[in-house]
């Protein structure tokens, strides 16, 4: 029922209030003595070299794509798991076929070296 979610909405409002208050208070009560050196990005005491926003390893994108693939699979597992008792052997075989097709992709990624970090 939608009314079950009303307490979560109330909690959300309280939390947003708390977080906003904290962020505002921290800006108000502390001292404020900015110097150019203080405002420079921290690079272990060296002068910063270039911008931080450079290109980074393709591996991170790959992990993100893999995550989307496999996370959707988990979402398929949840309703199946809840209704598992009613579905019986038929449900198991159906999920087995689904998982096998997925495992083909998983083995392919593995053999292609998609999980290797070097």
């Amino acid at each position: 029922m939608p009314s079950d979610y009303l307490p979560i909405l109330i909690m959300l409002i309280v939390i947003v209030g708390f977080a906003a208050a904290g962020l505002i208070v921290s800006g108000l009560v502390g001292p404020r003595k900015p110097t150019p050196a203080k405002l420079a990005p921290y690079e272990s005491g060296m002068s910063p070299i270039g911008s931080a926003r450079q290109r980074f390893s393709i591996r991170y994108y790959l992990v993100a794509v893999l995550f989307i693939l496999f996370d959707i699979e988990i979402i398929f597992f949840y309703p199946w798991a809840v209704l598992f008792r009613d579905l019986g052997w038929f449900g198991l075989i159906e999920m087995g076929v689904f998982t096998l097709t997925l495992l083909v992709g998983f083995v392919y990624i593995w053999k292609k070296g998609g999980f290797e970090w070097d």
Binding site: D4, Y5, L6, P7, I8, I10, M11, L12, V14, I15, V16, F18, A19, G22, L23, V25, S26, G27, V29, G30, P31, R32, K33, K38, L39, A40, P41, Y42, E43, S44, S51, A52, R53, F56, R59, Y60, V63, A64, L66, F67, F70, D71, I74, F77, Y78, A81, V82, L83, F84, R85, W89, L92, M95, G96, T99, F106, W110, F115, E116, W117
Partner: protein, 335 residues
Amino acid sequence: MFLDPLLLNIIITLIKTIVMIAALLGAFAYLTLVERWVVARIQSRIGPNRVGPRGLLQPIADAIKMIFKEDFAPAQADKIVYTIAPGIAIGTALLAWAVIPLGPPLMIGDLRIDLQIADINIAVLYLLAIGSLGIYGIVLGGWGSNNKYSLLGALRSTAQLVSYEIPLGLALVGVLMISGTLSLRQMVEQQAGVWNVVWQPLGFIIYFICSVAETNRLPFDLPEAETELVAGYHTEYSSLKFAFFYMSEYVNILTVSAIASCVFLGGYQGPLGIAPGPHWLILKIALIIFVFMWMRGTLPRFRYDQLMNLGWKVLFPLSLANIFVTAVVLLVIGK
């Protein structure tokens, strides 16, 4: 009743929410102290013992210091993103506690008070969703600071969190098949006799390993490996903004321990059918967190490739195998 039931409901929820948040902040403050004690003992040190009796006022001193620190933003930072990131981190961490059942319902006269803010029927899914949202705090914090360490820490963190979320989600499926519900309260009530960990030992172990990785704790603390990345995604943060990140980390540890207790260890149910109560849940959470601290004091950090290997090549196939073995066993014994 003089009050409209809806209004009464809202007032009760408001009180419960405020008490819950206060309790979590208190728990966070004292967890930092306990952690320092435990790690100190493991390393044959004494730990904090100067502020107040046995160092008991240390968290309060830390909090006051934190509030009155200078709150600056790096000149090249993306100011808006930089500012809201800690808010997102602490907000999502606290919001997860809306669905954790703390104890059996209380009766005051004929008024029933659930020791849970919202008893929704998809609590497990809700927790996974909120847990994923927590990543935004880290990513935006790392991106917004415009610092190389922060960005690298945030990237590592994201890759790690999303990789371990998959076995974490799958580890819970075994329990869902046994209990047939996504509601945490029903799940806990079903465990009045035997806890789920008895039927799902492998699921529990996989869940525990993944939850350590999800909270960026040793041996999975690569996102903030201090020898390489200074402090990871919160390198450029100070004052209460830093405190919010710190807080969200500890609240997340409390959350994953609470989920482990509710799903696998019977939540507020006592062992061997002893009367249920919130004290059991607190005891179980405390025990799990002690193991977290113990691991931090004992284990060295993983290398990044080992981390990814463990997540994708070991835990993922293992959790899938766990589901299918559970399924076959359930059907054969016809439970």
